[in-house]
């Protein structure tokens, strides 16, 4: 026959099991939620000032709309337009690996999101538009070699968007370590 003490320990063990299972599920869920938060941009700080983000001060250096025959002679078919965005970042501290998993995208305020063209296509377009100039790196490549403190880097990304969205476009930038925090600037492009 089990003693009272043994019986008490047995019930305590059973009761603690439910607490441990709940704790394990809670910790696992918290880890998953935390991991998910580092992949999304929900805390977007809008411009148009020059915000401090990821160890640098950011501003839009240039935004071009190509495809309607005004910026260049290039006319793209139908609704297709090419948007080229240059962002200038002046480092306020040592960045190191702080720009890892850098993402730049365009949004139109209705939930639609355009991602940049890949590096090869982007460089080909740069050479087509200006054969003499060296193509600028995008955010991902620049993150491997960020500017030193008080130095400035310019990054360039290209996007294919419909003409109907051009007026409402804003650019959003975020880095893996700081997501869901991100910064955004209206592009102020004119399609008329």
């Amino acid at each position: 026959m089990a003693s009272d003490r043994e019986r008490k320990i047995r019930w305590l063990s059973l009761a603690s099991l439910s607490v441990l299972v709940a704790a394990a599920i809670g910790i696992n869920a918290w880890r998953n939620v935390d991991e998910y938060r580092h992949r999304i941009e929900t805390d977007v700080q809008p411009g148009p000032t020059e915000p401090d983000y990821a160890g640098a001060t950011w501003r839009i250096a240039q935004a071009r709309l190509i495809g309607d025959g005004r910026d260049t002679e290039v006319v793209l078919p139908g609704e297709m337009r090419l948007v080229i965005v240059r962002l200038s970042a002046t480092a306020t501290q040592t960045i190191g690996e702080g720009w890892g998993q850098c993402e730049v995208s365009l949004g139109d305020g209705t939930g639609r999101r355009w991602l940049p063209l890949d590096v090869v296509l982007s460089d080909d377009l740069s050479r087509d538009l200006d054969p003499a100039a060296e193509p600028l790196d995008g955010c991902g490549i620049t993150s491997l070699n960020p500017p030193a403190a008080n130095e400035t880097a310019t990054i360039e990304e290209k996007f294919v968007v419909p003409a109907s969205a051009v007026l409402a476009l804003s650019v959003t930038l975020s880095v893996g370590a700081l997501r869901p925090a991100a910064i955004a600037f209206p592009l102020g492009l004119d399609r008329s």
């Binding site: 609704e79 639609r112 999101r113 294919v160 968007v161 419909p162 969205a165």
Partner: protein, 186 residues
Amino acid sequence: MGHLLRIFALGMTALVLAMLQTTTPPYAMLTGPIKTAGPQSERVTSATFAIDVATVKQARVLAYDQFGKAVELDTSGMWVVVSAKLEGFRQTMSVRAATLIGASGRRYRQSQRAGGAPDVLASKIVQPGLPTTGLFFFEIPEDELSKMTLVVSEQYDPQLQDEISVSLTPLPGSPQDRLDIGPDGI
């Protein structure tokens, strides 16, 4: 009496556990694709993208130009070429995964042999607001042609992502011997 109660409690516990186990959906189902289905005659729309299947053609030989050189591809079965239009709604995406389910229920992924053909949809980027047209290429045995379903998604074996199935209209007549793929498709 105490023994009987313990045996009853044990039996009930085993029964409840067995019920829980048999009614628990497998992990693959819980995290599987979000499915949408429709016929070829309609535009089939999911939350993230839509597909319009325009035409389906079958041929014994595919012919196209690649880098100025004529390419001819034959097959021990039949080439099935699906011409379709894709539209993305939320975010820049690609629809890399296309599978044809034949009459037997066997699943055939896109043929990599025709990867150099013009207008391959799987290698295109779909931008929101800019519908894209192109082709999917399959090689399947001739006896699978009587009933076919096209299944497309961003990637193969999608998890919690949209997957669209389109029941293809049975192909009329006999297959053509040769199908020429031009720069504008079929």
